[in-house]
């Protein structure tokens, strides 16, 4: 390869790391850089809840330590956020004002917490368990706090509920029909979930909405539209994830909910690919674009993106529609994988 070629990967999750590893495997001489806005190497997100409860140590979270990047001659830039992409000069502008040139780019920036429009004005009161950084901000506080309120109810949310139960905390959970988006939980599904969770020591609320959240000293007072009032120490929101693609907006890369890519994971720009939960992938079967969730999907897409970037024509096959078990409620989905399915870390 020419000396000035440089493969840059934005994102240090399963898609980004498997893309980098595949690139290295196929091209021993390439200069490969991973840029991550998190201050920690590749770690296993589904275990974050166990880490909160001190069931596992930080080392147990890690998939790759720094020396494994060194072994593969992959540069890792932790704690550096991409601000924007300039397609003409093939340059990434980082938030700390550094510029990085790339010859080919893989966007694997993952996703971030989704705040429902109705909760936007209370966002400052909400806590999340989306990343290691989120967790480190709240870990000690969680251990000290007694009363919790969970709003939403996606996969991580229910896992977190079980964790708090395990930690003997007092928990109320308001299950939002839009939490498992893009699917809408019907009244029947909500009833099934409520029944499934009734074994837990938690106050489960359905068919209601948060009216207000107010901070009073160190507590939060929540009121619902049906008149329920709770005073708690911490409020958590679990309403799914949205692609983390702010830095690509306005760059010329086609974006809808996520970064639009064809079945080969290529964006509308020849030298740029996207994979993992930040990508909205064209699906030949349904003739439409959809996003994927889950570790195995990200791994497969990371590998495919790298191979295609090197000239292959690997089509990413979508997971066919299947029934997903969400706390007893059967939801017909495609592209969804259980977050605990970790057969290919």
């Amino acid at each position: 390869m020419p000396d000035n070629d440089h493969y840059v990967i934005i994102g240090n999750g399963p898609a980004g790391n498997h893309a980098a590893a595949t690139l290295r495997e196929k091209d021993k001489d390439a200069k490969i850089t991973i840029i991550s806005d998190e201050c920690i190497p590749y770690y296993y997100k589904p275990k974050l809840t166990d880490f909160i409860a001190d069931k596992i140590a930080k080392e147990d979270l890690m998939v790759n330590f720094l020396d494994s990047y060194e072994d593969k001659d992959i540069r890792i830039r932790c704690g550096q956020a991409v601000d924007r992409i300039d397609l003409n000069s093939k340059t990434l502008f980082l938030q700390h004002m550094e510029k990085i040139k790339y010859s080919k780019l893989i966007i694997a920036s993952g996703s971030r917490e989704r705040v429902l429009p109705s909760m936007a004005s209370y966002a400052k009161h909400l806590k999340f368990v989306t990343s290691y950084t989120d967790v480190m901000e709240v870990k000690n506080e969680i251990q000290k706090a007694k009363d919790f309120f969970i709003f939403g109810g996606d996969l991580v949310g229910f896992k977190f509920l079980r964790l708090l139960n395990f930690m003997d905390k007092t928990v109320s959970i308001l299950i939002c029909p839009e939490a498992f988006w893009p699917y809408h939980l019907t009244s029947g599904m909500l009833a099934q979930i409520k029944e499934n969770l009734s074994k837990l020591n938690a106050d489960i609320i359905v068919e209601d909405e948060i009216s207000t959240i107010e901070k009073q000293n160190k507590s939060y007072v929540l009121k619902t539209q049906k008149g329920i009032e709770k005073t708690v120490d911490m409020v958590f929101s679990f309403n799914g994830l949205i692609p983390n693609i702010e830095f690509a907006k306005g760059s010329g890369i086609d974006i809808d909910h996520g970064i639009l890519v064809n079945e080969y994971l290529k964006t509308n720009v020849n030298s740029i690919y996207a994979c993992g939960s930040c990508a909205q992938i064209y699906n030949r079967a349904i003739k439409s674009y959809s996003t994927s969730i889950g570790w195995p999907n990200a791994v497969a897409q990371g590998k495919a993106a790298a191979l295609n970037l090197l000239g292959d024509q690997k089509i990413i096959e979508s997971v066919s529609a299947k029934y997903f078990d969400l706390e007893g409620a059967k939801i017909k989905t495609s592209w969804w994988e259980d977050i605990d399915k970790d057969n290919d870390i």
Binding site: D83, S211, D254, I255, H257, K287, S288, Y289
Partner: protein, 584 residues
């Protein structure tokens, strides 16, 4: 020696911690027509440059900070005659350009919300200022009382001409009255600002349609000039089968019916087609009419929606879903009424000419969804049959606003109206009576504290969902309180203040560079000059042998005043720059 000169700079800072004094103490005012000054204003004040009416945004935000709401209102009114209206429904190109919204600077200033604050918070006894010219005895007919017609009429009346507006509808305001829902724009406020325009002796003739009640040639004979500001009122059509079924509306007719107090049938499931403000207005109105499942369906991606984030948020808050990359292929009915709509999925494709990105239907990707009602908000085109196909081709006939530009936004229509009035005035009196200049005034303080840069944007107060649905005309946004307006005003960088280093006094110590929080002070070896005479980019160098000056790049400067405070030579000056109109 003046008393103030007795004190050292540090002593002055000690005396008044909130003020940092610049090198130039004596007030000097210069009016410039130099291209370099116009270029500097455009580059350094991006909000004002992005505003089609060139509103003095830093000026009115500063007035709000000083709690001079009447002054802030008048500064607005100098550029647009409907500040209270625009403070609610403007498309806000200024906020997209605001430097506070640039990466690492936080969120853009709530410029539009602040504009509304001047109207909300000004005293009840506020005095309106009009710089009236002597009557000219010239008569001008204005066709249409929408924003362009009103702006043209107002400017012409100020210039001393007798103006008569011909409006085909029962009430004035055009799209403001009939296109925008009352929950976004209260009608009492709209009428108040219209009446303030009409007070200059402008005659308003409603229910007078030019083309049917009176002809353009009649007007041309009776008046010294005629302005066609008839807007865009002919809806674009789907051109697909089923669009004539019952309960399929075009967006403008639907909004007109809603705004006339009628209740068009919407049923439970409503599909709105379109990506602009009218589509969102239709969808939100459908929610208020009782629909429970409302969607906005767009051909391209969400990125291409022609609405701002606030509107998108409010629509989603009200439960409206947005589906992208789909395009209607036919509307399906039963017994003459719509029952479903069929879509094709689309993909984006690049083109070599505008709009550069189009959506292409994907073959065999059809799917249909059942609906009770379809609203096509696909935009409008001018109804040229009403008046004339080429009004400008006739001597003494002018045109303004959406009628000329096609469907745009209210602030562009107002700006177009003012420009048109200037042309008509020159036509009527034979000379140009006003010109725009750059007013440069030495300024003795930075007016800002660094802590202001870290204030979070103040969100607009709104009523809750229950109240929104209890009465469809309840205004959703309730405005800032006085304290909120004051706090939000602090966030403005006041980009109209120009910082300059005097190269003859500078000792190149680089202390200013060291304290600057942004990359705004540069060691330069040259400055390019653009073909229009404005200054171009600074050519930077890190080689001291090539440095000809240390310069402040006002396009990056956030007016924190740190450089001014640290300069040991007092060689940094602050100048307030404003675009103003003066008599020629």
């Amino acid at each position: 020696m003046k008393k103030e000169d007795l004190y050292s700079k540090e002593e002055k800072l000690f005396q008044d911690k909130n003020k940092i004094y610049s090198a130039q103490y004596k007030k000097q005012i210069v009016y410039s027509t130099d291209a370099r000054d116009f270029g500097q204003v455009a580059k350094s004040i991006p909000c004002q440059d992005a505003c089609p009416a060139k509103t003095n945004i830093p000026g009115y935000i500063r007035a709000i900070y000083e709690k001079r709401y009447g002054r802030a209102y008048e500064l607005n009114r100098g550029a647009n005659i409907l500040p209270g209206v625009l403070g609610r429904i403007c498309s806000r190109p200024c906020e997209s350009a605001c430097r506070h919204g640039e990466s690492d600077n936080g969120q853009s200033v709530g410029i539009c919300h602040l504009k509304r604050s001047c109207a909300d918070l000004k005293p009840g006894s506020h005095r309106i200022i009009e710089g009236l010219y002597t009557p000219t005895e010239k008569k001008v007919a204005v066709i249409g009382s929408g924003p362009a017609g009103l702006a043209t009429a107002h400017s012409l009346a100020v210039l001393g001409h007798k103006v008569v507006i011909f409006e085909s509808m029962e009430k004035p305001g055009g799209m403001l009255m009939y296109g925008i829902p009352e929950f976004r724009l209260p009608r009492d406020l709209l009428m108040l600002e219209i009446k303030n325009i009409l007070r200059l002796g402008i005659e308003l003739k409603t229910n007078k349609a030019v083309g049917s009640d009176i002809s353009l040639s009649q007007l041309k004979n009776e008046y010294d000039a005629v302005v066609v500001a008839a807007g865009c009122v002919s809806p674009r059509k789907f051109d697909i089968s089923g669009e004539n079924l019952e309960n399929v509306y075009n967006g403008l007719d639907f909004m007109k019916a809603v705004n006339e107090g009628k209740k068009p049938f919407v049923g439970d499931k409503v599909a709105v087609i379109g990506a602009g403000f009218t589509a969102v207005d239709c969808a939100r109105s459908a929610v208020r009419l009782g629909a429970t499942d409302v969607s906005i369906n767009i051909r391209k991606t969400i990125e291409y929606m022609r609405i701002d984030e606030t509107e998108k948020h409010e629509a989603q808050f009200e439960g409206i879903k947005i589906y992208s990359l789909i395009q209607p292929s036919r509307i399906i009915g039963d017994g003459g009424k719509v029952t479903a709509i069929e879509f094709n999925r689309t993909r984006m494709e690049k083109t070599d000419s505008p709009p550069y990105k189009i959506s292409i239907p994907i073959k065999n990707s059809q799917f249909s969804v059942s609906v009770d009602c379809v609203i096509a908000a696909l935009g409008q085109i001018p109804d040229v049959n009403v008046v004339s196909k080429e009004p400008e081709a006739m001597d003494g006939v002018f045109s303004a606003g959406d009628f000329v530009t096609g469907s745009s936004d209210v602030i562009s229509a107002i700006a177009g109206g003012r420009e048109c009035a200037a042309k008509i005035d020159e036509y009527l009196v034979g000379e140009k009576r006003k010109q725009t200049v750059v007013r440069l005034e030495t300024h003795d303080t930075t007016d800002r504290q660094r802590s202001y840069d870290f204030i979070d944007k103040i969100e607009m107060n709104t009523i809750d969902m229950e109240e929104r649905l209890s009465k469809s005309t309840h205004e959703v946004e309730t405005g800032y309180t006085e304290d909120q307006a004051h706090e939000e005003a602090k966030r403005c960088y006041l980009c109209s203040l120009k910082y300059e280093i005097d190269p003859l006094a500078c000792i190149y110590c680089s202390a200013c560079i060291d304290v600057a929080p942004k990359d705004c002070i540069k060691m330069i070896e040259s400055v390019s000059v653009n073909p229009d005479g404005t200054l171009g980019r600074y050519e930077e160098t890190s080689n001291w042998n090539r440095v000809v000056s240390i310069a402040i790049d006002n396009a990056n400067c956030i007016r924190c005043g740190q450089c001014l405070a640290v300069c040991p030579m007092d060689c940094i000056s602050v100048t307030k720059t404003e675009l103003i109109e003066i008599d020629t």
